[in-house]
Symmetry: C2
Subunit: 231 residues, 2 copies
């Protein structure tokens, strides 16, 4: 019989918060190029976080985000001055939550399930982001990769969940909008749910999340079934 669920951990960027919500502001700075800029900015954040972890060259995610922004502007030949950089870096701390975030978190709270965040973001970003999005009241634990000085999908990051919560990874559900994160957590031993909002194909990494759906509401449906003792 499968173990009951002890807690649900949510990824932040791309899961609770829409990283593409900054594109509107980026478009005001660089007319017509906002979406392309934000896509490359995000891709480079992930690439730099992984390379630095592979090579044991950790810097806080705020620095990774700023480095990635500068590269993306260089590559797209968009002139980024200090004011523009400050504006976009600030916008990144004020990302919009997905519309289903608060309703979903309220349903979890109603049944008394422990909820937390497990993110690459550093503690300052995490606090700013949750306050900016009005999500800070819904979480019992906030876990940042900064505590491990490494980024996902390193085991040291996923280990923060069991270490902090005092439950084995198999009793924790990791909900992520990033397939690679749901797979990385599954490799570590979590149960995982991939919120696949854009109906993307699943990454081919020889593993699949336990659950896949289109929304955070479906992720919470999945969590409540596990909590009730289902498999």
């Amino acid at each position: 019989m499968a173990r009951a669920l002890s807690a649900v951990l949510f990824d932040l960027y791309g899961t609770l918060l829409d990283v593409h919500s900054v594109a509107t502001r980026a478009d005001q700075l660089f007319s017509g190029r906002g979406a392309a800029l934000v896509q490359l900015w995000r891709d480079k954040q992930l690439e730099y976080s992984r390379l630095r972890t592979l090579s044991n060259r950790y810097v806080p995610f705020t620095q990774v985000v700023e480095d990635a922004l500068q590269y993306a502007c260089d590559a797209l030949r968009l002139p980024l001055d200090a004011a523009g950089r400050g504006l976009l870096m600030h916008e990144f701390t004020q990302l919009a939550p997905f519309a289903d975030a608060i309703p979903s978190l309220r349903r979890l709270a109603a049944v008394g399930l422990t909820a937390g965040v497990l993110t690459n973001g550093d503690p300052g970003q995490l606090e700013d982001a949750l306050c900016g999005a009005g999500l800070e009241e819904y979480f019992d634990v906030l876990l940042s990769a900064d505590q491990a000085r490494a980024y996902k999908t390193a085991a040291a990051v996923y280990e923060l969940g069991p270490l902090t919560l005092g439950h084995p990874a198999g009793e924790l559900l990791l909900v992520s909008g990033n397939a690679w994160d749901a797979i990385g957590a599954k490799w570590y031993g979590y149960r995982t749910f991939w919120v696949n909002r854009s109906s993307a194909p699943l990454d081919r990494l020889g593993e699949r999340p336990d659950g896949i759906g289109r929304s955070l509401e479906e992720a919470v449906d999945f969590a409540l079934r596990l909590h009730g003792g289902g498999t």
Copy 2:
């Protein structure tokens, strides 16, 4: 005074071999989509190699390449049957060398500098690729990430150079067409040269290669200056 140079190690994909040379064949299969397919295929190869290394889930690069191909076709909604997959996988073992590869390697051989390959490719790919490109006679050592069961930029991969050659990394020059590889090797302790054929901006990782140029010829110029005792 700087140490003299003991050997030059070359990355394979994107450095000696043009990964985009498969686009023509891909275009015959998927008219007008070859370039997009090859770009995503290559991006996913790198992403999967890094995620698997971060999570200690090594599989040989042939598998990574095939997984990435399948994902890229899924994402671009290109129907890949067994024949198409076989054809493109075979083409990947027959990539064209850049036009300056053989002339540059001949110049190194003429001065008696030890030359080698250090690649993410597995031994079978490496052998097929060098024979297919007519490059096999130019190398004294062939080093594959498979020996470390990890991919770049993990230290275990770069460590193969000093371990095999018996010289410290500071006496080895790593030449790569991938900025992240030149930076990763530099982090490890190599001297490094980035062959920046497309005049791309340098990745913002807080480190820079020792040399940057547009061609393998310039990389060899750099190596010969170091070999002659310059800095």
